[in-house]
Amino acid sequence: MKTPGEDQNRRLLRARDAMDRDFAEPLDVPSLARVALMSPAHFSRQFRAAFGETPHRYLQRRRIERACAMLRDTQATVTEVALAVGFDSLGTFSRTFNTIIGRSPTRYRADAVPFNAPSCFVRSWTRPSSFG
């Protein structure tokens, strides 16, 4: 049997999985809180307590990790990558990318080599760990 805390963990994990899966969608805290069956304010607090960062920050890291994969593995333009991973504008994407990765998307692509491993491991282990 799950304790209330374990049940809450499981619901928070379901919301985090939704970010991993639907990162390109216009996700916001209220919609993610619904996945976790919580109020938005409670969800934000409990997500941070469980996973050590805000939902917004997790989503930004997920989007930039996916952008890195597209820059490494596809011929899509930087603008196409930005839109594909959920950013509304190239400017916001480029600023966020630079902040997190420390290089421009174009520079990252020039330096990158492809990874041939199961995508969940690439996703988890190439996700930028900190920024800001």
């Binding site: 799950k2 994990l13 985090r16 999985d17 469980a50 995508s119």
Partner: protein, 138 residues
């Protein structure tokens, strides 16, 4: 010389619920279910690979202290206790079958450099990938 991997542990919170999922949905078979007195030794295996089992183990005392078991349960339900990767010859077919059974998928079938795969969670938070090596949609 080692001859292979025979059993590894997957922590679960409830063994009956684990049987419902691993046997009832994934299609594994129970390879052993023995009351040892101090624990229920419960293993499941894929039907075509009976010598490769998963021990479905509930964390708790005396194997672990209450405090350690609580940490394991916390990590388990946060999805932080690792992965199991299953091979299949029909990733998309398995996805549809399991989806229809209500299994919680985290990734839909996707073409990868190594084949087609998708990902799901068991009821407790364990991460499971289903890979069709070399598979393509072409």
């Amino acid at each position: 010389m080692f001859t292979g991997i025979s059993i590894h542990t997957v922590f679960v919170l409830d063994q009956e619920e684990a049987i419902d999922f691993y046997v009832g949905k994934l299609g594994f078979e129970i390879s052993s279910d023995v009351d040892l007195g101090f624990m229920r030794w419960l293993t499941v295996a894929p039907p075509n690979q009976p010598d490769r089992s998963i021990l479905l183990e509930v964390p708790g005392p005396p194997s672990q202290s209450d405090e350690t078991a609580a940490v394991i349960r916390d990590l388990l339900t946060k999805g932080a206790l690792g992965s199991t990767i299953l091979n299949t010859d029909d990733c998309r077919g398995d996805y549809k079958r399991l989806k229809d059974l209500g299994v919680e998928f985290t990734e839909e079938p996707t073409e990868q450099p190594y084949g087609i795969d998708c990902a799901l969670r068991d009821p407790f938070g364990n991460h499971i990938r289903i890979t069709q090596p070399g598979g393509t949609d072409a």
